[in-house]
Symmetry: C2
Subunit: 336 residues, 2 copies
DNA sequence: TTGAAAGCGATACCAA
DNA sequence: TTGGTATCGCTTTCAA
């Protein structure tokens, strides 16, 4: 193992000089800096992370508290994790995985043993049981999701309430008067995931504002559940001409079942999805969608965390404005 | 921050005694041990991970090199990660995320900076470009996947070759004489992912052994691709009575398209899937499947890593025997 | 512009 | 059965 002392010897300087060259916290003559650089390269030196952390009281790592449950939004989850990892690495942070199951204890453990400088928490509930701990545990923390009362915690997410409103308004603007929403699985609402609850409340508010006849219901991810939801809808509310879908997994089923029931998209029924853009583009009928910008949310989350680590400013709430893209799944209703 | 010195003072012993109580590497009188235990609890002491790592030359962490690409097997990937994380925590190891994109450099970095003691690498290719580095980098390493020439690296995976054989044999035993396989996306074979290549080779060997007319082709994850694959198959090989599917994402589509083309499962066409059990159970028609035991593979991988860390023995190859479960999607062919 | 040396908080060897 | 202390590899203060 190559240590800083090896580098110092090789370069003919003291180890503190090597340290300063690497950190840039001291002005160093061009000459020595170059010699040190060369020694570092020649020996392939990389500072020992533990030693560095011990001395500097900074580990350069963040805890990622992620739900590895096979829930609604699996590909979205991956996109979150990937973008967080990439953004973290760019900021020279490593990512320590803390699973949801470890609970409060998990975060307290990594904090107390000084394994991380900060935490990034995904998958929040409106009144998340972890919030008291997160608020008081002293770790700089950014939430991906927007709970009821974040207190002094930073939050970032797509503005899901606004997204719900937009989805309804878009259909209303096209002339639809009766719409429905197929939501995420029941379990997601039962635990009050912020993204599901807020989107639903936006959906309701949009309907109220535009005086649209609107209903919604949770839908499980299975083919059967989606098919049943559609059949019930067609039977009970035949007047519906627009469907909002907040459930990535059932999108293909929704399209194929509607077709098999003799309903054409968008001629008979318009569809708007809340889903990642690539998913919207790759359906049998390219879907008008409000994008879930998972990559951007992840990047912003890391940025916000860095700002807190630098002690620059307090908590912030960042809700990204929804972007709706018109594709082939929406049109004016036939009888409009 | 509570340090070992605080605990020592509180318990009226030396800090080395505290260390020994915690590590159990020395016999301690019942009395002092109890006093130290109480002090630890009273102060809420948790050893500083960096200090411990620096002194003991062991960080108690493993690198998880995972592909966060939205590939074929997304839910499976999650199951891997979840089970690995759980098993690691049980062994008191933390998990550091290293993304595929960081490449060789990523692993070298975490090794050189002593961030981890070992590595777990997922998603291997038959002649993975990382193999030379993995073999020589000095980090104890377990591969999830079975490449062409693992050398002195430990591997664990489902026995995919055997799984392919079994799938064919099961259909052959039922009396099918002409079968087909829908594989993973083309990109997966292009990069020669071990799981896809080995399953396909097993499929071919099974067909050879039983003198079954068998063909296979990669299939993209989209609805269109799956539908096209089915229509081509029905047109070009109407004699086919059994289909093996190694592509979780298209399972629902395969079932619904077959039905919409007037083919009943299993009456007209039998289906065997290689997929996780819950996925097989939750299709419109419960699928006969060979299970992808992601959870078990993850656990075994961590076990193998621990064994290597303890210096107990060399490289091992563990290929888990396939388990086939008969459900409603297979039967004897009609004309048999 | 640089070096010497005192920590950082543990572990583990050497003594007693 | 226990304590003292050198040590791990780095950062950062104090001096020059």
């Amino acid at each position: 193992m190559v240590t800083i002392a090896d580098v110092a010897r090789h370069a003919g300087v003291s180890s503190s000089t090597v340290s300063y060259v690497l950190s840039g916290k001291r002005t160093i003559s061009e000459d020595t800096r170059e010699r040190v650089r060369r020694a570092v390269d020649a020996l392939g030196y990389r500072p020992n992370a533990s030693a560095r952390a011990l001395a500097s009281r900074r580990v350069n790592a963040l805890a990622l508290v992620a739900p590895f449950r096979a829930d609604n939004n699996v590909p979205v989850l991956l996109e979150f994790v990937a973008s967080i990892a990439a953004a973290a690495r760019e900021a020279d942070l490593d990512v320590l995985l803390v699973t949801q199951e470890e609970g409060d204890e998990g975060l307290l453990r990594v904090r107390d043993s000084a394994l991380v400088d900060a935490a990034l928490v995904m998958d929040l509930e409106m009144n998340d049981a972890r919030l008291p701990m997160l608020r008081s545990n002293g770790l700089p923390c950014v939430l991906i999701g927007y709970p009821e009362d974040p207190g002094q915690l930073s939050c970032v997410d797509l503005d899901l309430h606004q997204s719900g409103v937009r989805a309804v308004e878009h259909l209303a603007d096209l002339g639809h008067r009766a719409i429905a929403m197929f939501g995420s699985p029941p379990a997601v609402y039962r635990r009050e995931s912020t993204y599901a609850v807020r989107f639903a409340s936006g959906f309701e508010e949009g309907a109220r504002r535009r005086a649209i006849a609107a209903t919604w219901r949770p839908v499980d991810q299975s083919h059967e559940a989606a098919a049943a939801a559609i059949d019930e809808l067609l039977a009970e509310r035949p007047e519906v001409t627009g469907i909002v879908v907040h459930n990535e997994a059932i999108l293909p089923t929704v399209l194929s079942v509607l077709e098999s029931r003799g309903r054409r998209v968008p001629d008979d029924i318009s569809i708007i999805a809340l889903c990642p853009t690539d998913m919207a583009e790759n359906q049998r009928v390219p879907l008008t969608n409000i994008a879930v910008p998972a990559g951007e949310i992840g990047r912003v989350a890391v940025e916000m965390l860095l700002r807190r680590l630098d002690g620059a400013g307090g908590a912030e709430i960042r809700l990204l404005a929804p972007e709706l893209t018109e594709r082939s799944s929406t049109s004016a209703p036939r009888n409009a």
